[in-house]
Amino acid sequence: MKKLITFLLFAFSVAAYSQEILLEQNVKADTIRPSRGPNLKNFTQGYLGVGFPLFTNEAVTYTKPGLSTSFDFGVRYKRKVCSHFALGLDFGFNLSAYKLKQDEWKMVPDTILNDKEKFQINTAAGSAFMRINVGRRGNYIGNYLDMGAYGGWNISKKHKTTNENAEGEKVKVLTGRLKYIESFSYGLLARVGTNRYAFTARYRLSDIFKSSYAMPELPRLIVGIEVGLFK
């Protein structure tokens, strides 16, 4: 706005003679209608999620249910199309740990039994989704259903075993850049949420293990919860 100067007189001391502005409101500055916000044209937010691989027919035999985890974090952009429909993009990272059961059925990556064993696969992924909102609302995300697809690059592919040797020492073996794991993954996703919180589900269509190695697949379905990071 235009300049407006409140003079300060300094006779004996600043504290004694300065004017104190108790209230100042610039209405003009508030007249611009914002375009960014949870239910406005553009909205960007962060997110944090945790999921748990659910069994598949193959994987139930060798992953430890409940202990295997999948963490997600990233940035999400949503563009509102109308009150009930929006399109969006995510970019983020997924850190998945598949802990393997050590029993006579173990086949992945071999039949050797260890004290502990897991695959750690970290993925840089992007996704596109469409959002259906229910109910008219103010500048709130509201209740929604997201459906979309994701794809990513497996930037880290590690296998880790932990064993105790005859001397009682703990021996950890970490093998990276695994040749039998695919470099890319893709699949479908869905979220059901209300404002900041959502239940999530991700179904991997791609294989983790290269087909030439003929290994049974790790769980394809991961379900979890997500918290939106925004003001």
């Binding site: 706005m1 235009k2 300049k3 407006l4 100067i5 409140t6 003079f7 007189l9 004694a16 003679y17 300065s18 004017q19 104190e20 502005i21 108790l22 209230l23 100042e24 409101q25 610039n26 209405v27 003009k28 508030d30 209608r33 239910n39 009930h84 429909f85 259906i132 229910v134 109910g135 008219r136 609302r137 103010g138 500048n139 709130y140 259903l145 003001k231």
Partner: protein, 532 residues
Amino acid sequence: MFPVVVHAQQSWLVYLKDKQHNDFNPYTYFDAKAIERRIRTGIPVDDPSDWPVNENYTNEIASLVDEVFFASRWFNAVVVQADIHQMSRVSRLPFVLEIEQLETEEVHLAEYQEYDTTMNPNEAEVLKGQIGTLGAAEWKKAGIDGKGLRIAILDIGFDNADKVPAFDHIRAENHLIATYDFTNRKNGDFVYYGSGHGTQVWSCIAGKIDDIQIGLATGAEFLLAKTEKRSEKYSEELNWLAAAEWADKNGADIINSSLGYTGKRYFNWQMDGKTSFVTRAANTAARKGILVINAAGNEGEDEWHYIGAPADADSALAVGGIDPSTGFHTGFSSYGPTSDKRMKPNVSAFGHVIAAAPNKLNSTQGTSFASPLVAGFAACAWQTNRSLTNMQLFREIEKSGSLYPYFDYAHGFGLPRASHFLAGKETTPLPTFNVTERGDSLIIILNNVSVAGESNQGSANPELSAEEVQRPAKSAGEDYFYYNIMNKSGVIDSYYVLKASQPEVVTILKSDFIDGQVLNMHYKGYSETIKL
């Protein structure tokens, strides 16, 4: 007309094409006070908008839906619960004009926070100031207490209000006319459960304990309507409408609504006085001759910042909150203007009060309590001149404001003054400052600078006598210098409140302003406007 994804039961407002007069007799339908209000304010006694909804239409709709909540004669509409398939059949009825889906968001209350209940000296001063600044002593001297006025309170609940001693005088004089719980659609005692919010609000209108007044309108009559539940899912705005129609039928002169609806369902720019359902209901109530008084809201420090609905209604007197310790706008009180740039709030009162809670007197804050203080004031003001229409009274209350004709979007016209309504009390204010031109500068020089901001707090005895409560209170804000810059459309671009501690309070460079802008100023009761 129907949203894309709806499968569950929803609430719908079914607007009807026509009404039939049938044998509607307003003289038997309305309370005598409602008839009297219509005659007094020049509103037709037999108006089509008052005719009941066609019962045949209601019955036919009822046969197609799960439930009919109520029929609105003002909107000629029926509120129903149904799924989309049922509504599809309703929409094909020949007498259906339009269908509006209603929302399913949670309730927002214009309540802020309750304090500890101990009465310390400062709280005793607040109790004195909350009605003292609205002229309690002058009203008392003139024998004005809202007698003959009927006030409807729309609120979330009135816990223990049937037992709280602050209302003994009302019960003793049979001045509680009717109660209705619109959340359960039941008459009777159901309003006395759910929340103490309404109990405190009522006390700020008319409470009195041992001759110590909490509100001004101790002689008024009351209608209590419970319109909300804390976990209500969708119907609070509908209940507001139903309660307003009920208040109209039962002869209410004033509605106090310390309720507001903001960001969960609306955008800021929808606070335009015509979009929200409850705002349209409030304006319709005003068209029936009822003075609607509504809390401005408590979002001043939130991202929302602005007043909510129905305070945005042009015919609702929106009341902002004053901090008793400073004498000017309290931080949480929502700001104006409306999104279409009308002035709101209209006036202000203490936003920190002592109120009668269900179990004890306590200190609480929120514009929820500023609104009923003004409702009590309005009842007294109307008692002085019953020939005023509701909107004439609305304007007179604005004119009575301590800042009038100056205003801003934090205070409106300031604290209403009783002297405006009591003959022989008002005097023309003398100039309290001069504006001197020096080159390109305008210098505002105050005539008598006192140390501003000294509140009227002191070593008061918390056990105040009735006389002490009644004595005129000095507003701490009287010594502040207020000014604003207004554009040629009459909209304030910016506004300020200064604590003046030297004669030369503000210097403004004229060249910094554009043609048509004006500088409005106010200091110690005197206002002046200068073209820049």
